[in-house]
Amino acid sequence: MRPEARRIAGYGVAALLTWLVGYPLLITLMEALGLPRGLSLEHFAEFARRPDEWQALWRSLWISAASVALAGAVGIPLAFVFARTEFPGRRILGALVALPVALPPLVGVIAFLFLYGESGFVSRGLQSLLGLEQAPWRLSGPAAILLVHAYSMYVYFYLFTRAGLARLDVAMLEASASLGAGRVATLFRVTLPLLTPALVGASLLTFMTSLASFSAPYIFGGGFRVMTTQIVASKLNGELSMAQVETVTLAILAFLGLWAMRRVDPGRSVVVGGTRGVAPSRRVLRRPLVKAGAATLGWGLALLLLLPHLTLLLISFVPPGTWTVEALPPVLDTSNYESLISTPERLRPVVNSVWMAIAATVGAVVLGLAAARLSLKLRGRLGGALETLLSIPWAVPGTVFAISLATAFSVNAPAMGRVVLVGTPWILPLAYLVRSLPLTGRSSLAGLRQLDPAVEEASASLGAGRWRTWRRVTLPLLRPAVAAGASLAFITALGDFVTSIVLYTYDTRPISIEILSSLRLQETGVAAVYGVLLMAVSATAFLVWGREERI
């Protein structure tokens, strides 16, 4: 492409991204500030006057901090075990324990509900074992939220720590040993300091994810409101201005987090000293007892982590109304699945979710790839702006985006770049697309950065035109990166709950919304079937991602 044409394309894509990503946020900020009627801090003052707003803010912060601590406590030791020891089944378990990150949060939450909830397996079991009148506990409030967070977010610590350990040069550990440091001294004086950037990165990521978390507080929170649930509650109560102010507040917190992430940049700083050495080898456990112990621990842990999902699978085979007071379900059959397939109304959300997720993924891949390509070719300010625009939706909580899109696209003012999309079938795919952009954009960027520009030049010098070079050389080489980004984008869109709950209409209701209403109607079996469906598709896509992008 000629430089001028490329610049024009760059500005075009930047404008499109700004319209999709930045503009809704800006409009929300302006409306929160009382514009266009007149600039005022009235809504913010109202926010500051209400104690429940401060309470929600405070709860969001401490829940996030506690989630970091708990996720770290699970994830870091787990990573050390899997990185440093060898026991039977290590490989497959190592891949399995990373799975929760790929499952839609709502699925994890209902799986937890079915396992540890009031009428879940564990409490029923205890109830009948101890002969209790009531369930031994209620799964609600902050403890329940934290449990779910720790359970799903330990994966960040697990993955970051493993990546950090894999890049650690064994020579450094040997140097430490040769200088007289023992195992423990080496761990605290060499290994952990070198892992610090990875751990800080994982902490920030967990903090931000937990700040944005919606499913767990929504299902388990009850009266315990955090910012995300507070926003949706305000919106449902019709207090749109308050929802906007809350949205702006949460967005500011998220941007602070993004800013901190940028400063740490866990991706690069883990590599110490430039040249890569040899990672420490695994300790092969020889003594049979130790070996059996490690294997038991590993398998036990993995089972614990996968138990909620196994429960979900089991519940999906329990016909409606057959499980009342027994400790274990008395009947198991496939009637829930059959009813889903034979009832068009129940199949509808599946069709909706699938087409919307496909549309969003295709859009996000095309836009992400174009923006990434232009960003790298143009460099400079425009290139940097494109890259930033691509990564913004990643930092912005889904709730914030949902409210912003609902604000921006509920007014018809084409001159202002605003059209009514809320209430049409297009708003959800669009919202999914925007939320998936960082996934496809970042993986495209990574793929393009690895691509040797000389390869494309070689193709040109061999007489291939731009189109042929793109089709025969660039695209095949980018395929792994694009496939990885696309599969993650698809998972995210398919299982989305946060943006859907704000923006869906009855005709476009996605699977997550249907799960929610099935739960309300006490149709746990049907809810579980939907959950299993999401789980199966997500796990498949995750495996594709894992194959293409080895960790």
């Binding site: 000389a454 030049e457 070689a458 007489g463």
Partner: protein, 362 residues
């Protein structure tokens, strides 16, 4: 016969930095011209400009009478061998070689025939189905050459084709490349920063320094008749000494040269100098020899180091007047620490006299 490739007054800057300036060059058909120069001198930029990956700010590129200055690379029909090969990692050896032919919509059986003809030329029979990361560096290098040659290009461009190979492999691969190029008889531009490689493969060598051509000529010309002190010092070994032109055409060197005395050294002037001009003498080790005592015009000094290098022994002499000279002599001529006199041997390699840029005092 008109030149096959003509570069006229090419200029190129990246932002503030001028990378190539006023560069003109002619290459005859079938000639192998080596672009030699230190790192950052603009060799790659020039090659990429000829290939069409960079557009010159000014100047023209004409090939076989046709101006190609702003043609896109895919229209030029030049073959290029990249420094890091840039082989297509997702294709096999055979598919890599066939790529350029497919771009030109050559019929399938013709492609087959051509690939089967090229692979033996670069000693790669039997490797057709291999992926490119499954073969060695030297083999990859030869795939890159075969791929560039397959569409029968008008011109072959090679950017440091050997720099990614380890030294033992380098010499053998160099021979293979040179042989293949000669067999086909293609016009080639070969970029390198190694003088020995340049002299070995080039019919002529163009020496580039800071974006300007210092000298273009056969290896002998560059070595024996360097036109600037840069050429003299870049090509082969040379020592340099500051001096002042004397009225007999020789150069006065030594502490008291400004008073018209000092040692008078014979040399060949590049350019015209008047008596009293400040100049620089470039001396090849072969143009010097060692004597026991100062006899007539000689420089006295002490042997600082002695290195045996097979065909000659090199003595590093620290001069009493300051500075150092490298002298080639017989192995038993002297020993480290001995006091010696250095005398000229103009019949072997005369010293060359160059002007000294202002402000470059001794």
């Amino acid at each position: 016969m008109p030149p096959f490739l003509t570069l006229t007054d090419l200029d190129k800057s990246f932002g503030e930095q001028t990378v190539l300036e006023d560069l003109s060059l002619e290459v005859a058909e079938g000639e192998v011209l080596v672009l030699l120069g230190p790192s950052g001198s603009g060799k790659t930029t020039l090659l990429r400009m000829i290939a069409g990956f960079e557009r010159p700010d000014a100047g023209t590129i004409v090939v076989a009478g046709e101006e190609v200055t702003s043609e896109p690379p895919e229209k030029r029909n030049f073959g290029m061998v990249f420094q890091h090969y840039a082989l297509f990692p997702h294709l096999s050896v055979e598919q890599n070689v066939a790529f350029g032919l497919e771009s030109r919509r050559v019929p399938k059986d013709e492609i087959h025939r051509r690939v089967a003809e090229l692979l033996p030329l670069v000693d790669l029979e039997g490797f057709e189905k291999r992926r490119v990361h499954e073969i060695s560096g030297g083999q990859q290098q030869r795939v890159a050459l075969a791929r560039a040659l397959a569409p029968d290009p008008r011109l072959l461009l090679l950017d440091e084709p050997l720099s990614n190979l380890d030294p033992t492999l380098r010499e053998r691969t160099r021979r293979q490349l040179r042989r293949a190029i000669q067999q086909i008889g293609i016009t080639a531009l070969w970029v390198t920063h190694e003088q020995e490689e340049a002299f070995d493969v080039g019919d002529r060598v163009a020496l580039l320094n800071e974006g300007r051509l210092e000298q273009v000529g056969s290896p002998e010309e560059l070595y024996l008749e360097p036109r600037s002190r840069f050429v003299a010092s870049f090509v082969g070994r040379a020592s340099s000494l500051p001096g002042v032109m004397a009225d007999d055409g020789r150069v006065l060197i030594g502490d008291n040269r400004f008073r018209g005395r000092g040692v008078r050294w014979p040399g060949v002037a590049s350019g015209s100098f008047a008596p009293g001009d400040e100049v620089e003498l470039m001396l090849r080790p072969q143009g010097l020899s060692l004597a026991d005592r100062a006899a007539g015009e000689a420089l006295e000094g002490t042997v600082l180091d002695r290195r045996y290098a097979g065909e000659a022994t090199y003595y590093l002499i620290e001069l009493e007047i300051g500075g150092e000279l490298l002298v080639a002599a017989l192995p038993d001529s002297s020993r480290v620490g001995a006091r010696v006199a250095v005398v000229p041997r103009p019949e072997v390699s005369p010293a060359r006299i160059f002007g000294r840029p202002r402000g470059d005092g001794s």
